[in-house]
Every structure is written in C-alpha cells, then in structure tokens.
C-alpha cells in the first residue's frame, strides 16, 4: 500500500475517535435512532470504535512488514514554528501492535457497554469520554513530537478521571482523586524533562532525537531528563512504590474503565520508556537502569505477595483489587525487560505489554461478569468456606476465568509466557556495562515471582471456580452472547500470541534494534 493511503489511515485512526466524541454530544442522526436516545448514543459508540478498529486493522495490513523499523504513514507539518513544535505522526513496529490493541479493547468495551451500560450519569457523556480516551491513547502511540506526546498523554487522564469518579463503585470519588493526583504530579515532572530535552537539543522531534542517540545532549542533561521523564512514566506504568493509586482506581472503576485502564493506559507508561527514555537519553537510561530493574523486581514480588495476602481466606480480599495488584507484578516484568537495555529484554517487555493488555483485559471483563451475577467481588463473601463453585454454577464463565488465570500465570503456549521469559532472559544477560551480578539476582527474584504468581492465581481458581455446589444455590446465567462476543477475540489472540509469538516479535524486534542503536 502506498504512503498516502497509510498516512490517511493513521490520521483517520487518531482523529476519528475525537470527531466521534464530539458527535456523541450532538443529537443522534435518524439512521442511528434506537429505542431511546441512550441506545442511540451507545450504538454510535460501537459504530465509531468499530470503524476505528477496522481502520487500524487496515493500517496493520498495509504496514510494510519488511521494514518495521522505519516510520510509516508519516505526516509531518509545522505546527508552532517558533518553538519547532511539529504535527508529526507515524507508526512503526513498536507502536503498531499497541494501536491495534487499543482500538480492539475500546471496541470491545463499547460493545460491552451497549448491552450492559454501567450505572452512572448519562450514556451520552459515557460514550464521549470513552471516545476521547481512545483518541488520546491512540494519539500518544502515533505522535512523534515530544510536546504532542505530552498533550496526548494528559488528554487521557481527564476522561479516565470521570469514568472512575462518575461511573465507578464504592469509594470512587477518593479513588478518582488519587488517580488524578498521582498521574498529574507525575506529568508535571515529565513535562519538565521533555522541555529540557527539547530546548537543549533544539528540537522536539522524536525521530530526529532518537537518531541522534543523545549526541546533542550533555551527560548531565540526559541524567536529569531521564530521571524526570522516567518518573512521570513510572507513575503511569506503574512502578513500585508509585503504584498505590492503581488498586484503588481499579477497585472503584466500572468494568469498562478497568479494562481500559489495565489494557491500554498502563501501556502508555512503558511505551514512553521504550520510545523516549531509551533512545533519546541513552546515557541517562544506562545510569538509571539498575535502579529501575531493582524497583521492577520489588514490584513483581510485592504485587504477588499482596495478591497472596488478599487471596487468603478471611482476608476480605477484593477480586478486582487482587487483579490490580497482579498488574503491578506483571508490569514489573515489563519494566525489568526495559531495564535490561537489551533487544531481548525490550522485545520481551513489549510483548508482555500486549499480553498483559489481552489477559488482564479479559480478567477484568470476567470479574465484572462475576460481580453482575453475585453482586460482590469480595472473595470471602463470594466463596465462603468451600468455594463459589463457578464450574458447577456457570461452567463456561468458570472455564474462562480459569483460562484467564492460567494465561496470566505464564503458561507456555499462551501469551503471558513469552514476555516474562524474554524479560528474564534479558536480565540474565544485560547490556554491556550493567552489573551482571545484580541483574542475575533480579532474574532469580523474578523467577521466584512467577512461582508466587502461580500461587495466588491457583488459589483464586480454587476459591472461585471450584467447590461443592449448594443444592439451593440460585441458578446463574452462564455467559451471555454479547459477553462471548466481547471475550472471544481476547481469548483467541491470547492463544495465537502464545503459539506464534513471531507474529508480534517480528514487528518489534527490528524496531527495537534501531531504537537501541543496533546493539
């Protein structure tokens, strides 16, 4: 496919959700009218996100897989000439999978919301916010200008804040506030770092900066910039000990909010590391890599241990909170992979990123379904002393939950395995100049983390899926048709990515090598 078509596709992918968000606020056109205005606007959401998904798939099809390290479909026009800020968009092997993942998850969320609108204010605002969120996320993966990246990054916060604060469950106000507080503070620091890079190097263009590999920046500039930008991204990732907003946000958020938060928003943080910190401030990245790795490993263990504590009987653990903590652990693997500064580790990180989006997205959908049926996600109330017996009460839902758990614990043959394996392998042989001994320790601890991960997930399966079914227990509806429609793509992709990781790694590997300077 030629350049112009790709260019138009990419632009459309970024702009369409934003136009759709505006459109959601207008009266519905005659063709879309459903039973009532609510349904019309929800239908509008499905339509727009579906179109964006179709466009992003077209983009993936048209993408030249022979040259994934080259920016494709680029648009580059001057925006604020005085500051050298440009409207620069493009897609390469690193961003393409994330764009498709975002489009897919948002579409599935819109579809889910069409049938099961979360309780809260108007559907109109809900759809507009989801579309705004999608637009911002897609933009942050597509833009190649530091300032634009920052704008896109920030744009996502506001819709998420309202999704949690208005459509969430218990404690939503506090959770939403904490979310915005943490991420805004992180962003301020990140902005300073970005500005520092831009002014010292004389350009905000990410491609130019990445090609320079930090040659235009002094070592001290790189260190300060890497620290500032890294902190902002680390809040979002989230890195231990900056994670504590995440469990609250997830616990309070509606199902769709949780799915998007885990599946899409967290990815922006780790994407930023790979796209900005590693190539633009390589010296800074090298300086902080061992610390990042250490925090990542602590995150892995901390997340898993917190999950184990929540999963225990009598701990009154909340299932959503547990999966949120498990995200801290999984994102720890992503950060560890990045901190190895090797192609293996960074590829693993990008793979784990996508895998986590698929699997944790699925898990949040499933837990949402459990909540709808039982009215609670409290493990103790759910399972009592013997177990909730989901296998018996709703065998398909139980089977899917077990599938999600098994995928999440990193069974080879499913998506969760490769990212963690490659990250650990990267840590086993980190980039030159990094302390091998320290990284070996990190790797061993991370391997121990996989053991703990298996532990708590199996406890969850034991307590939720298994158990003796009461004769008087009310009959639960098994998986609805629309739920199947929303979940099947995630299950299928989890299996596909597990069996054929080359499909994804073939895209990321050349791009990662270019970003790391062909090492």
């Amino acid at each position: 496919m030629n350049h112009t078509v790709l260019q138009v596709l990419l632009l459309a992918v970024v702009v369409l959700p934003l136009l759709g968000a505006l459109g959601a606020l207008l009266p519905a056109p005659p063709g879309l009218k459903g039973r009532d205005p609510e349904q019309a606007v929800l239908r509008h959401g499905v339509l727009v996100t579906g179109a964006v998904l179709a466009l992003s798939i077209a983009l993936a099809v048209g993408f030249d897989r022979a040259q994934p390290s080259r920016m494709q479909g680029t648009t580059d026009v001057s925006w604020i000439p005085a500051l050298h800020i440009r409207l620069h968009l493009g897609v390469d092997g690193v961003s393409l999978p994330l764009i498709v993942l975002t489009a897919l998850l948002t579409f599935l969320c819109a579809l889910h919301a069409y049938y099961k609108m979360p309780e809260g204010p108007t559907a109109k605002a809900f759809v507009a916010l989801i579309l705004l969120l999608e637009g911002g996320t897609l933009a942050s993966f597509a833009v190649l200008d530091l300032i634009l990246f920052f704008l896109a990054f920030e744009m996502v916060l506001i819709p998420m804040y309202f999704l949690i604060g208005r459509w969430g469950g218990d404690g939503r106000e506090r959770a939403a506030f904490r979310f915005i507080l943490y991420t805004l503070l992180g962003s301020v620091v990140m902005l300073l770092g970005l500005l520092l890079v831009g002014f010292k190097a004389g350009t905000f263009d990410m491609v130019t900066l990445a090609t320079d590999k930090g040659s235009g920046l002094s070592h001290s500039t790189q260190i300060i910039a890497a620290l500032a930008i890294g902190l902002g991204l680390a809040v979002k990732a989230p890195m231990w000990p900056l994670h504590s907003w995440l469990p609250d946000a997830h616990t309070a958020a509606p199902t769709t909010g949780s799915v998007l938060l885990a599946g899409v928003l967290l990815k922006m943080g780790t994407y930023g590391f790979v796209r900005i910190v590693l190539p633009i401030t390589p010296y800074g990245a090298h300086t902080f890599a061992p610390y990042l790795a250490a925090f990542a490993v602590v995150g892995i263990l901390y997340g898993s241990l917190a999950c184990l504590a929540l999963a225990r009987q009598g701990a009154e653990g909340d299932l959503k909170r547990l999966i949120a903590y498990s995200s801290v652990g999984h994102m720890g693997f992503v950060l560890l992979g990045i901190a190895t500064l090797t192609p293996t580790g960074v590829n693993g990180a990008l793979f784990a990123n996508v895998a986590h989006g698929l699997i944790t997205g699925l898990l949040f959908f499933l837990v949402g379904a459990v909540k709808e049926r039982y009215g609670t996600t409290d493990l103790d109330r759910l399972s009592g002393a013997t177990g909730a017996a989901l296998y018996g009460a709703a065998p398909r839902l139980g089977g899917l939950l077990a599938f999600g758990a098994v995928a999440s614990l990193g069974l080879p043959g499913l998506a969760g395995f490769w990212g963690e394996m490659l990250s650990m392998f990267g840590a086993f042989r980190p980039a030159a100049g990094l302390d091998r001994g320290a990284y070996l320790t990190y790797m061993t601890l991370a391997a121990f983390g996989t053991l703990l991960t298996a532990g708590y997930l199996l406890v969850v399966v034991r307590r939720v899926c298994m158990g003796e079914r009461d004769a008087e227990a009310r009959v639960l509806t098994d998986v609805h048709g629309y739920e199947f429609a929303a979940w099947t793509p995630l299950v299928a992709l989890t299996v596909l990515a597990g069996l054929w990781p080359a499909a994804l790694l073939g895209l990321t590997n050349p791009a990662v090598r270019t970003l790391l300077g062909g090492s």
């Binding site: 800020i85 902005l191 504590s244 241990l305 917190a306 158990g467 054929w500 590997n509």
Partner: protein, 631 residues
C-alpha cells in the same frame, strides 16, 4: 514420513479441541471421540516405528522443522520435532498405554456427568506429553513440560467439588512450578553458553564448555526432574495427586508423566556425562527417593497411596540408573517401559477394585476379593509378580539390570548405591505383598458405608478388564522380549550410548542376592498380613510407621518452613502497606488538600467544562514553553 511426526501431536490436540469446544452436544459420543484420537496417534506411532525399523540403526533419526518461533535478536527459537529411538520408545508407551486407559475410562467414568470433559483433558495430556518427548529443543520441550503439568492439574482436580481434590491439584501445580523454575533457568544458562536450545548443537559443543557451567545446567535440570518425577525433595505432591480419578493416576501419575524427569536426564545424557558432580547428585536423589517411597508405601492403608509410594520408589530406581551414565541409561528407560505396563496395570486393577467396592480405598476394608473379582485378581497378581521382580517377569529383567549397573559404577559409590537398590528390592517385595494380601486374601472386612449401603463386590465390565488384561500381558512378557538377544539395548544404544562398567560382583551373585531379599520381603509380609488376620482399624504402630503414614513428615516440614514463613512475610507486608505506604500517600493527599478543594469545583460533570479545562491546560502548556524559551 516427516509430516507424520507433527500429526502424532496434532491428532490428540485436535481431539482435545473438539471435545472442549464442542460443548454439551458431544456428551453422548465424546468418550469415543477421545478414544478415537488416542488410537489414531497410536497407529501413526506404529507406522513411524515400522519406518524406523526399516532403516539402518545410524539413520533412525527423523527431524521435522515447522516454523520460526521467536525471531528476537539474541534469542532464536524454532518449532521442530526430532524422532529417534528414545522418543519412539516413549511415543509407543504413551500412545499405547494411553489408548488402553482411554478405553478403560469409558467404563470407569460411565456415570460421571462430565465424562466428555474428562476425555478432552486426557487427549490434551497425550498431546502435551508427545510434544515433550518429540521436541528437538529444550524450549519446545518446556512447553510440553508445562502442558502436561496443566493437564495433570486439571485431571487431579477433576472432581473439584471435593475440597481435597481441589487442594491436591493446586499443590501439584505449585510444587511442579518450583521444578519448572529450574528448567527455565537451565534453558537460559544453556542458551548463553551454547547459543542455542536445540539438542543437536548443544550436545555437539559440550566439550567446549567448562565443567562448572555443565554442572550448573545439570543440577538445574535435576531440579526440574525432581518436580515432575516426584523425587525428594519435591516429592510431596504425588501422594495427594491420587485424589484424581484412578485412570488418571494410572496414565499420568504412574506410567507416563512422572517419568518425564527420567526422560529429561537421559535425553541430556551428553551434558550429564561431562558433569560427574551432577551425575552423582542424580544418583543420590534416586537412591534416597527409592527408599523414601518404599517406606511410605509400606505404611499406607489407602491402596492408591500405597501404589503412589511405590511409583516414587520405582522412579527412584530409574533416576538412579540414569545417574549412572552410559552404564545405566538403557536400563533406566527399559525399567521405565516395563514399569509403565505393570504400574498402569496395578492402578487399573485398584480402580477396578474401587469400582466394585463403592469407591472404598482403605485396604483394611477389603480382603478376600479374589473370589469376587477373578479377572482383576489375576491381572493385578501378574502386575504384582512383575513389580517385585519374580524371575522371568518384566520387572525381574529391568530391575536386576539396574542393581547390577549400580554395583558396576565401582568404588564405594557403587557398593553403596548397589546395596541401597538391593534393600529397596526387598522393601518393594514387602509392601507389594502387603497390598496383595490385604486386598485379595484373608477374611472379608468390608462394612456398610455411612448411608448403610453394603458393598457388593463384583467384577468390572469387559471394557475395563480387557485393557487390564493387555497390560498384564505386557507386565509378564515385555521384559523378557526386550532381553532376547539384548534387543532393547541394541535399539537404544545409538542414542544413549552404552558401556558395561566393571562390576565387582558377578551377575549370578546379584541374581541370587535379589532373590534372597525378595523372599525375605515376601516372607515378612506373609508373617504380618497373611498368617494373622488384618485388623480393620490400623494399630498405632511404631514411630517410623506413624511418620511414614504422614509421608515421613514431608508436609509438616514444608508447612513449618515454607508456608508459615511465607505467611509471616505476607502479613508483615500487608502491615507495611497499610501503615507506611498508605500513610505516605495519605500525607501527600492531605498536603494538597487545598488544591483538591479547588479541583472539586471544576468537577461539575458538564462536558463543556472539561473541554474548557483542557483548553486551559493547553494554554498553560504553551505559555510555559514560551516562558522557558525566554529564559
């Protein structure tokens, strides 16, 4: 021929897919679909076997490269299969015994409403196990390795409504996971050392690598083998795994999956041969486990748990042999195959007994069953004679060879290992005779169960007894057939290598010694359980007996050391989270309380005000950049 290798794995995988996705509409035919796919892969196995036999011994290795798996710089992996004499042996064992057990399960699981799912899982197990033995590289082997672990988890917990089964499944997976960690790290060390995971390049370059590195790899592989094969110190899951349906115990926890550790060690022979320390560790693990399992087997009253102890012990024999290097590899595999026959047969026999006795497993409530279940009695009896090493039967040929090989290692090590193996043979005779006597001889001791149902022992249907008879046939003749003209040795030698070693003891002396301990063991058991009536309630027993009933305190050890320690750790972490981390966050939140008040005023819920605030934010941003530029 090469594409057939893939079909070998593909057939049961397809079956699993059909059964698990097909849903309730397959409930009435599902079990036959499962049997069909197992049989298809057995037929393919036989075709491939005939093909291998038609080639000269040097050309009996077929490879089949499927696709590139991971194309990352610094981590290349392919999906490829390798079929040689070693994997062929396993393929025939897995698909042959597997198919028989599928057929048996049709009868055994007849009244289970989830029978279709059961067969789906069994097919999944076959596919994963075949993948494990056919992989041409360690990474693919690892996928099969975890796949059988998953299948085992699903099948142990098949009756998940029983809390004991659910817990046992979890335990099996977790203990195995410890071993898997060893395997995954071994794979990493291997790749950094050799630049590849594939068997061929790795084994070709063993000579270029320091011994320390090889010892590391060997010990990590041993850790993996300990997990999967239930060897000390990772043995604790196997006894609990008996919570699964009996055909599962027969196929997975006796005949095939638990022997994967032995396969791993024998397959990595080139590495172990160059790492004597690791080899010795394998021998020690095997020797310790063979005694450990045997002692546990002596004390258990649950027929399946007694057999599980026996399985551990017999795999201990195989491990011991595998650790001996080229002296023992062939015999480890030969014992593995004969054990596959007789132990699967014994478990199916136990299942048949349970089937006739309202699922009773306590041997103290059996007795005199030989008249009620003649076929089961005869097939179980033949399996019994085979496992204790009755002259001429399968176990005699393979176990004697291992004892002989242990002595042939030479030196103090050889004497010690040989003596342990010899004593183990005596204990084996004791506990197996005990099982036999308590189950089939003496007076009948069964009683009505809690609901007042009197058991009516009866023979099982043909669909169960025919597989039992075929396995009994194998238990009797396999060992002898393998030993005619050293056929098995000649078949495996090109892959594993072989040397005779220098035994300080003559072969006939070992045979006599084995017979003596055999008679001693049987006699002792007869003394305690044949001549005297078996009490229906277990006597208190000696300290050792009581410890052995509790699996020699393995769970108590794990509980005190691992579980308690872990609980304290997590509790202190939770405390930390509530006080320190949250405290810090709340402090921050309070600090910006003033800001929050102002922020709240902006949250009025109208979309246009969000738009305004975004616009405002952008304005601030641009202003900031202008300001910075001015500076």
């Amino acid at each position: 021929m090469d594409p057939l290798i893939g079909a070998l794995v593909g057939a049961p995988l397809l079956g699993a897919g059909i059964l698990l996705v097909g849903g309730r509409r397959l409930d009435r035919t599902g079990h036959w679909i499962g049997c069909l796919w197992a049989a298809v892969s057995f037929v393919i196995g036989v075709v491939l076997f005939a093909d291998l036999l038609s080639r000269s011994p040097a050309q009996r290795t077929l490879t089949s490269h499927l696709f590139t798996w991971v194309p990352v710089a610094g981590f290349q992996a392919d999906v490829g299969f390798q079929l040689d004499q070693l994997s062929m042996t396993f393929v025939l064992l897995i698909t042959g015994v597997g198919t028989l057990i599928h057929i048996y399960s049709v009868g055994y699981m007849e009244h289970d409403e989830n029978r279709r799912k059961f067969f789906g899982y069994l097919n999944l197990f076959l596919a994963a196990m075949l993948l494990l033995v056919l992989a041409d590289n360690y990474l693919l082997l690892y996928v099969g390795w975890e796949g059988v672990g998953l299948a085992s988890y699903l099948l142990i917990g098949f009756w998940q409504h029983k809390p004991s089964a659910a817990t046992a499944a979890k335990k099996a997976f977790l203990v195995n996971r410890v071993g898997d960690m060893g395997l995954s790290i071994a794979i990493m060390v291997m790749f950094t050392t050799f630049g590849s995971f594939a068997f061929r390049p790795v084994f070709a370059h063993v000579g270029d690598v320091s011994q320390g590195r090889l010892t590391t790899i060997g010990l990590l592989l041993l850790l993996a083998a300990c997990g999967k094969s239930a060897q000390v110190p990772l043995q604790s899951w196997l006894g609990d795994a008996m919570e699964g349906p009996t055909p599962v115990s027969a196929l997975i926890h006796a005949a095939t999956m638990v022997t994967a550790g032995v396969y791993l060690v024998v397959r990595s022979g080139a590495i172990f041969n160059a790492a004597p320390t690791a080899q010795l560790a394998v021998c020690v693990v095997g020797a310790v486990t063979l005694v450990f399992g045997a002692i546990v087997g002596c004390a258990k009253d649950d027929i399946k748990k007694a057999l599980a102890g026996s399985t551990m012990s017999q795999i201990g024999y195989m491990m011991l042999a595998a650790g001996l290097g080229p002296i023992g590899y062939v015999f480890a595999i030969m014992h593995l195959v004969t054990h596959g026959f007789f132990k699967a047969g014994l478990f199916l026999g136990a299942g048949s007994v349970m089937h006739g006795m309202n699922d009773e497993v306590d041997m103290r409530r059996f007795g005199a069953l030989r008249t009620y279940m003649p076929v089961t009695f005869v097939t179980f009896g033949l399996g019994y004679l085979a496992i204790i090493g009755f002259p001429g039967l399968s176990g005699y040929w393979s176990k004697d060879k291992i004892i002989e090989a242990a002595f042939a290692k030479g030196g103090t090590e050889g004497w010690t290992l040989g003596a342990v193996a010899l004593v183990g043979a005596g204990i084996t005779a004791f506990y197996m005779t005990r099982v036999m006597l308590m189950t089939f001889f003496g007076d009948k001791r069964w009683q009505p169960d809690a609901e007042g149902h009197e058991p009516h022992p009866h023979e099982s249907p043909k669909i169960m007894t025919i597989p039992m008879s075929i396995l009994a046939f194998g238990s009797v003749f396999a060992g002898g057939l393998f030993s005619i003209n050293s056929a098995f040795l000649k078949w495996l030698q090109p892959v594993t290598g072989h040397s005779d070693g220098h035994s300080p003891v003559a072969t006939w002396e070992i045979t006599v010694a084995t017979l003596v301990v055999l008679i001693l063991g049987v006699g002792l058991a007869w003394q305690s359980y044949g001549r005297q009536a078996v009490p229906a309630v277990a006597p208190r027993g000696s300290l050792l007996t009581r410890a052995a009933r509790r699996d020699l305190l393995q769970d108590d050890f794990n509980h005190v050391v691992l579980v308690r320690g872990g609980e304290h750790l997590t509790r202190s972490l939770v405390y930390l989270d509530h006080t320190v981390v949250d405290g810090a966050v709340n402090g921050t939140a309070a600090g910006v309380g003033g800001l929050s008040g102002r922020l709240r005023r902006l949250q009025n819920g109208f979309v246009r005000s969000y738009a305004v605030s975004m616009l405002g934010g952008t304005a601030v941003l641009v202003a900031a950049t202008l300001l910075m530029r001015g500076v």
